[in-house]
Each structure stands twice: as structure tokens, then as C-alpha cells.
Point group: C2
DNA sequence: CTGAAAGCGCTAACAC
DNA sequence: GTGTTAGCGCTTTCAG
């Protein structure tokens, strides 16, 4: 194997422009103390030679690595990929993150970390040592993992926590779950629904509680009863089946149901079909997340979109801003989620 | 900003183990010329101190970067992400690639490159200079882009080409499209079908022709006619509608149709429904790719799975092997695709 | 405002 | 087998 070296280095540029390495470095990093004329001359050489700095070398010399690292839960992510249920969480993260990184000349890395393991710290140490990212983005449930957040804080690596409000350091960002749940519930009330069921998600994710809180508060605002209308699932299709069955077996059956994710909504639809309950004529259905399956379902599901791309994009932006010492906005950052009306919601059936 | 340095470096390990840097380096890289006893001592220090080498430094010193770079088409990928049609191509690439990389202590990077641009070379130069990957994986349609393949060859960067058989250098890997199309056609013949329509994909992708060739050859083997039974689409849902309409308007209507991707198959299903043609009773339908939508469709679609994860996994494996100077298998590498039978295929209807 | 020198963490090449 | 030396490409001091 030949010792592969950089084709064109800062030296070549310096020689070509007739200046010192240092001046070229200053131009690359948009630093002050360079005359405009010099800057122009150096930039011309850079363009002509097609020079691009090696991030390895930049990192080595102790400055930035121009790398933003996204950390996802290993087991869950792999399981989701293997199951091929069509969730595009990772894709949306990449969409939002990579584009924003590119805008600022950064690269986004995507890595999996094992939470089970007792050696989360070891694994993190290794990843950070190897990659030396300028910022880290944590996704649920890592965002609330005290081992991880404490470790990152101790290492003084800037990090963002998606889907977390807690005071665990770093930059927390949430996706307007509570407001969106409230909006969805209100919309159903507008449509004349009075008994609106709610299928909650696993307590392991804090957003489960936020979603539920939104529903509760909108119900309270409308002076509607909550009795027996909330059932807990765990985000799986199976748990959705059980939850839907229990809701639809109620004496005073709900005329609308909000499910805390698409899989449980799909399960609810299937239970309704099995019971001969028509959607949306007899039962309105709203789901959370708005993964691609919502549009392929029959009828297409009205859903609350989870603005993953935008949230990750914001996270990248804030991480870069923070690394430059710029001021941060009020935390947590809230990225609003929108209700997308499709075919699974309609006016409440006439009381019978 | 504090000058962030490695917490524990090779020096610390060397000091701790009482050996030279070089010996530690040899242990890290599993190189020969180290006594077992030494190796053990050094490894113990590594473990105790929680040492992990900096890939930046490793790359700097002229050896490997332990980075494999995957290049996808920028516009198409972003468009697919935005459209949220549920294609999990990227996810499957990551699944196959990241896990295999991890096995060998490599990291996988995912980047987008702009093909439109006349400055593909500039963009590639910059990416390679910045990242210095040990290997590059090209996906369609990049795999057949002569600008890209020629550039990579001139730079002597090892690369793999997914979905390409051509002699453009690097390691070509294909996903058994022709064989799979043949198998699918045969299966329909077994089920008694004699008029089997085929909706081809865009010529821009070579796999379109391979799929078509498989169908043709199986039809020929069964001495079945091809007249008017092949229509070309462009992989879009809309093109699928047109193609399906023209096939189903034939005087001697096909009793089975193979669509070159899932979107066109979905379109075919919709046209059939609109015409009152029952699936699978009156029309059998097979699609290519097996993206998640196939399982959510009604009926679930019989499909030919595209083994993306496995193919990318193989690509990583071969790239790493090649970088070690190991011998490569016969090229192109063919990763077989399997037919997955679901609810859209059945026996041919009785001749009427 | 610009340049020279030192060093980041690691490995290639060579000596022992 | 093992250690020593000299860089890799860049940025950080610190002089001028």
C-alpha cells in the first residue's frame, strides 16, 4: 500500500500564492488580520489548485473537526431497520442534519450506541476519541440517559438533546408534542366529538406524557369527560390492538381516538374494521408521527407530523453557533408540530 | 474554546505499559513482531486507561483512515426523503454497511454528491481530501457515471460499484435482478399464467434492462408470447398508471403483471381496482424492490426483495479485504434476490 | 498585519 | 522483537 498523501496541501497553496502557511490558514478559517488583497490572492490559488483542507490535519492541530455526530440507540434502530415498518426517522434526521451541516461546511456522522451495555461510557469514550466531533446530537431515549449526558458534560463536548426538556445540560429541543395533541383534540371537538379516546405511549419516552397532557388539557378546556378514555400502549402494533379493543368495548364508546403513534393507529383501524366500525363515519382517528404509512393506509390517516428534519436542523445550527460562542435562544427550543388532515377524521356521528 | 486534546494518547499507554510508542502501535494494528506477553501487557494498559486511537492521527501518519464513504445521488436522495414515500434504501444501506464496518473497526460515512453539477470532480476532490476514506461505495446511478469512476481510479482510491456490471474499475456488485425476474416469471408460469405482462423501468438504470431480460428469457423458456406485453415506465407511480392501463386494455389481457418497482405495482393495483379487476383472483401482481409499502398494501404485494443491506455489507467487506491486498472473488459479485410471496399472486383464472 | 517555530497523535522506515 | 527518528497537514503560539 502506498503511503497515500494529500494531493494538494496548504504548502502548495502558500507557495503558489507566495505567502506563508499561516496566511493561507487564516484565509481558510475566515480569520481577521489579512488584507483583502492577500485574501483574494490566496483564495485564487485555492480555487485554481482545487485545494480542500484535510479535516484530519485540522483536527490534529487542535482546532475544530468540522464533524457533528448523531447518536442513535443501537438496538432500537437496527430492529426498526430490520422490521422494515417504513419508519423514516433516520432518513428525516439525515435530511435535516446533513443539509444544515453542509451549509456551514460541516459533515454529519451517524453512529449507533449501545445502551444496554454497562460500558456505555467506554463505547462513548472510544467514539469521541476516534472521531473528535465538534458537537453531538442525542436522540430519544439517549437524550434522557443520565450516564450519557453526564459523560458529555464532563468531557465538555457541546451536545443537543432531541425530545428532552430536562436540565441535563446541553441544548434541549422538543417537538411541540403537547401543543399538537391539544390542537388535534380541539379539532375533534370542533367536529362535534365529545367522547375522545386517547392511546398513550410508553412511559420510557417523555413525549408520551406530553402528548397525553395536551389531550387532557384540551378535554378539560372543552369540559369533556376523561373517564376510562385513556389507555396506555407501548407504541407497538400489538399494544395498539389491545388498547383499541378496550376503548371500543366501552359502554359509551368514543367517537374519536387519538393514538400516540402510527403503528397503534393502524392497529386501531384494524380493530374498528374487525368490529364493523366505519372510519371516518363512525369513528375518527388521528395518529402521531406521520410516518409514510399514514398516506398508504386506507383511508389515509389524519396525523400529527413530527418535524424531525427541522428539529435536527435546528440542533446542528445551535451546536455550531454555540461552538462559536454565540448566544443561544431560550431553552428548550420548541419546534412546532402540525396536524395534517387526511381521510380518517370527520364529523361526529349523530348521537344514537 | 480550550484547545481540546486527546484525553489518553498512545504515549500514556506506552508509559503505562513501559514500552515504546511503536510497540503500542503494533498492538493496536494487530501487526506481527510483538511477543504475546508484550501484547498482553499493552492490551491491559489500553483497557485500563480506556484508550482509543484518534482516527485523525492515524490518517495523518499516512496509514489507514478506517473510514468507508458511501456516495449517494444528492437530488434523488433528498427528493425521496422529502416525498416520504417510505423507500428505505438509505436505511438498508446503513444497516448493511455500518454493521459490517463496525465488525472491522471501521466507520461508515454517508455523503451526497451532486451529479448535475459540472463540478462533480471538484466536489469529489473536496470530499476525498477532507475525509480521506479508505474506500468508497458508489450507488446507482453513480455506479455508472464515468466521470466519477474515472476520477476514483485516477486517485487510486479503492471503490465498489453497487448495481453495475461494467468494466469501469473498482468492485462491481449486482443484486441478481435477472435471475430474480426469471424466478418470478417462472413462478407465475407454474401458477398457470400464460399472458404475463411486464412494466419496465427507466433505461437510465441498467438494472431495468436486467429485470426485463429475466422476464423475456423465462417467457421464451416457457414458449410464451411477448407480443405487446412489455411496456416501459420510469419507476414513478404516474408512469405505472399509464403502463398498467395500456396492458390491461389489451384485447388478450394479461392475467399477471410484473412491475419493475413497488410504486408502479401500486399504480397497477389501483388501475385494476378502478377497472373492477380483482387481485389476485383475476390478476396476479409481482413487484420489484420490496420496500415497506408492499406489506401495507391491500392485498400485500408479492415482491422480489432487493438485498441492499447484504450487498452493501459485501461491498464493505471486499473493500477492506482489497485494502489489505487480499484476493477478490470473481467479479461482478452477485447477491441473489429472493421472491417473497404475499397476497397479490394466485393461480391463473380459468380461461374465459 | 504577517511569518517562523513548535507540536498535535500516530505510523513508516530504519536502526539495534 | 523492539526502540528511535522523522515526518503527515494543519493551527497555535509568539516574534516581528
Amino acid at each position: 500500500m502506498p503511503r497515500r498523501r494529500q494531493a494538494v496541501t496548504i504548502k502548495h497553496v502558500a507557495a503558489d500564492a507566495g505567502v506563508s502557511l499561516q496566511t493561507v490558514s487564516r484565509v481558510i478559517n475566515a480569520e481577521p488580520n489579512v488584507r483583502e488583497e492577500m485574501r483574494g490572492r490566496v483564495q485564487a490559488s485555492i480555487d485554481r489548485l482545487g485545494y480542500s483542507p484535510s479535516i484530519a490535519a485540522q483536527r490534529m492541530s487542535g482546532s475544530r473537526s468540522y464533524l457533528i455526530l448523531t447518536l442513535n440507540d443501537r438496538d432500537r434502530t437496527i430492529e426498526a431497520w430490520r422490521a422494515r415498518q417504513g419508519s423514516d426517522w433516520v432518513d428525516q434526521m439525515l435530511l435535516g442534519g446533513m443539509l444544515k451541516c453542509a451549509e456551514h461546511g460541516y459533515r454529519m456522522l451517524f453512529e449507533l450506541v449501545d445502551t444496554h451495555d454497562d460500558h456505555v461510557e467506554r463505547e462513548l469514550t472510544a467514539t469521541l476519541a476516534a472521531l473528535q466531533p465538534d458537537g453531538v446530537i442525542l436522540t430519544p431515549p439517549h437524550s434522557d440517559n443520565p450516564k450519557i449526558t453526564a459523560f458529555l458534560q464532563s468531557r465538555r463536548v457541546p451536545f443537543a438533546r432531541i425530545g428532552s426538556k430536562g436540565k441535563a445540560g446541553g441544548i434541549p429541543l422538543v417537538m411541540g408534542d403537547e401543543d399538537a395533541a391539544r390542537d388535534a383534540t380541539r379539532r375533534l371537538v370542533e367536529l362535534g366529538h365529545e367522547r375522545i379516546g386517547f392511546i398513550a405511549g410508553s412511559k420510557e419516552y417523555s413525549l408520551s406524557e406530553w402528548r397525553k397532557a395536551g389531550w387532557r388539557s384540551a378535554m378539560a378546556d372543552a369540559s369533556l369527560p376523561l373517564d376510562g378514555l385513556c389507555v396506555r400502549g407501548d407504541f407497538s402494533y400489538e399494544s395498539g390492538l389491545a388498547a383499541a379493543r378496550s376503548l371500543l368495548a366501552l359502554e359509551r364508546r368514543p367517537t374519536a381516538i387519538i393514538a400516540s403513534n402510527d403503528q397503534m393507529a393502524l392497529a386501531t383501524r384494524d380493530v374498528a374494521e374487525e368490529m364493523g366500525i366505519a372510519i371516518p363515519e363512525t369513528l375518527s382517528l388521528i395518529s402521531f408521527d406521520n410516518t409514510p404509512v399514514t398516506t398508504f393506509a386506507n383511508p389515509p390517516l389524519t396525523a400529527i407530523d413530527q418535524p424531525i428534519a427541522e428539529t435536527v436542523s435546528r440542533a446542528v445550527e445551535l451546536l455550531i453557533a454555540a461552538s462559536r460562542g454565540e448566544e443561544l435562544p431560550h431553552l428548550p427550543v420548541i419546534v412546532p408540530a402540525k396536524l395534517i388532515e387526511r381521510g380518517s377524521t370527520g364529523p361526529a356521528p349523530l348521537a344514537g
